[in-house]
């Protein structure tokens, strides 16, 4: 489904991703772990089409189609979804309006009729319950004043509404209490499907108890330095990143240059 070959990306002239190779097939769940500043969010943002990052080399295809040719909104309509590490607050745009606009943009793209306000309200309430978010949050500004955990649940709410082909979850487990972690995991597991792939960025193997990945990759210094099965996560938890030969300056490329 997703194929990343020799991907290099930089920000403000500084190279962050230094040749990423990754193949993800439909139905698979991949986890990416790695030290702070190693480029995990950069990879996620590049996949979603954030123009802050410049792709200098390499290619990304989604079901054979060149992703780099597509605008962010076109990628989303083709099925790419990114749950942000730091979801954005947009006061003045109600969450409900935001969600409905997004869902209808997707429906229009697929040639389906738009949902009217009443139909959508019903759907949004149901999905809110699924992620244990009080429907009152639909009335508030997008993420406005939401707690960290509420923001993460709102991201999963969006994923459930938009039903992406590839869901990229950037630290959706961070900052969650134990109950919330279960709720979010249930949401993510509900997304698992034969025709869908999930790429999870996480620091904690804890999440992987709930959402069992098919593959675990270690991203360090802008490269994938190790890949394995889920047991790799346990090993990392025990031994840290040092044994992989990941040095501090590799973990933080900005310090190296």
């Amino acid at each position: 489904m997703l194929s990343i070959k020799n991907l290099h990306a930089s920000v403000e002239g500084e190279e962050i991703l230094k040749g990423i190779n990754l193949e993800i097939k439909a139905g698979e769940v991949h986890a990416i772990m790695g030290p702070n500043g190693s480029g995990k969010s950069t990879l996620s943002q590049v996949l979603a089409g954030n123009e802050t990052f410049e792709v200098t080399e390499g290619e990304i295809t989604l079901n054979g189609e060149n992703l780099l040719d597509l605008e962010t909104e076109e990628r989303a309509r083709e099925g790419i979804f990114l749950a942000f590490q730091y979801p954005v607050e947009i006061p003045g745009v109600s969450n409900l309006q935001f969600l409905r606009t997004a869902v209808n943009a997707m429906r229009t793209h697929r040639g389906e009729p738009e949902m009217n306000a009443a139909e959508f309200m019903k759907l949004a309430r149901e999905v809110s319950k699924q992620v244990d978010l009080d429907p009152a949050f639909l009335k508030r500004g997008v993420n406005e004043g939401f707690s960290g955990g509420e923001k993460k649940r709102n991201e999963i709410l969006q994923a459930l509404l938009l039903q992406p082909k590839l869901a990229i979850l950037d630290e959706t487990d961070s900052g969650l209490d134990i109950d919330a972690l279960q709720v979010v995991s249930k949401g993510v597991n509900a997304l698992r499907a034969e025709d869908r792939a999930i790429l999870m960025v996480t620091h904690y193997q804890r999440l992987l108890n709930y959402i069992v990945p098919d593959y675990v990759h270690v991203l360090a210094g802008g490269r994938i330095v190790k890949s394995g099965g889920r047991e790799l996560a346990l090993e990392l938890e025990e031994r840290g990143y040092g044994w992989l030969g990941v040095k501090d300056e590799e973990a933080t490329p900005s310090a190296a240059s």
Binding site: N50, A76, I90, V93, Q97, F98, A102, A105, M106
Partner: protein, 428 residues
Amino acid sequence: MKPAPTLSSAFLEPGGHSLPAPLLELRKQRGTALVDMPLPTRKTENWKYSSRHLKLTDGLAASLPATGKDGLSLSLPGYRVVFRNGVMVPEASDFPDLDGILIQRFGDLDDNDAAALAERLDNTLDTRAVQMARLNSARFEDGLYIRLDKEAVLDQPLFIVHEVTGTASGSAYPRIYVDAARHSQITLVEEYLSSGDEPVMVNSVTEFMLADGANVTSVRLVMEGENVQHIGATGVRQAANSRFESHCVGFGGPLRRHDLMVRLEGEGGECKLNGVVVTQGKQHYDNHTSIEHVAAHCDSEETYRNIAAGESHAVFNGRIHIHEDAQKSNANMNNKNLLLSTGAEIDTKPELEIYADDVKCAHGATIGQLDKISLFYLVSRGIGRREANTLLTMAFINELVEQIPVQAVKDAAQLRLNEFFDQTFQEA
């Protein structure tokens, strides 16, 4: 040194001679005083950004024809008075005769009322600060006098439609005076519209005199075309415990100017001034507001938002003057500005003059652009650029649009806003 330009004498010949004698007399007096009136220039502080957009060619001096063809079709709820080119059109107007409320065009006033009005006209305005309003006083050909007796309540909004027809070049001078006695209430909507495309100037003046406890809401929607220079002034005087609320929504043109001056003259007075301004292309919009806290224990709250696209220019100048005796004044002024293109310009200036020591006065002004990260977040959900930009821009003014107390105005403003968004934002 080049002599300052003065008002051409062509402007000092008003039409419409069927006004009651006291008003004709007043108009003549005001006209005489205007001979050699210096026009605002770049050096005139309160016109420094706008004087170059003020084009008083002799062609504009003519009165526009009092009747023209029905240019605009309107369906408005509530009571309605239509002025075409500054003169009331009775056939298009519709309002009932109500106990304790006089709503009458200047031309139909009896001698007593006309004399009473002549005494009042201009008494809410500092005509040194609003130079151009003086021209209205010398030129008005008709107008509307609204007088609410003690405790009278107008049960529905009164829509005043000011329409100008640009089938020939010229100018119109709409004039309104509202006298609100103790504890009376009214919501007045002024809509400024135009048809045709010959150059036209609208110079309008609206005055509100609020007695103790009066409650007045003024809604102003400015939507004239690209051929119209619009210069408006609103004067407000408030006695004790009165409340004045103003909602201005304006779309740009070659020149749009509004001076809004409020004097809080009795204790316990309250005013709330909201404004939304949208400009595009090469348009120019200039809002000057002034709030004078003359008496103690008054509250004022002002919120203005400018949105400028293309190469347009918006100006906000907000003055708050707290007089020496106005202790316990509470004044809040906030102006936020959104630039939608690199070619647009916004100038904002708070002017605070505080002579009392026990007051609360807060002000803030910001100029910014749409947030790129917010935009990315929206489009990453499949929302198109045009819609995403529209959502973010609406977010900037939503709060003010929501507060407009008249649904028909909200709807009309939203329609015009949607046109603006369609013209301003593109898909990637």
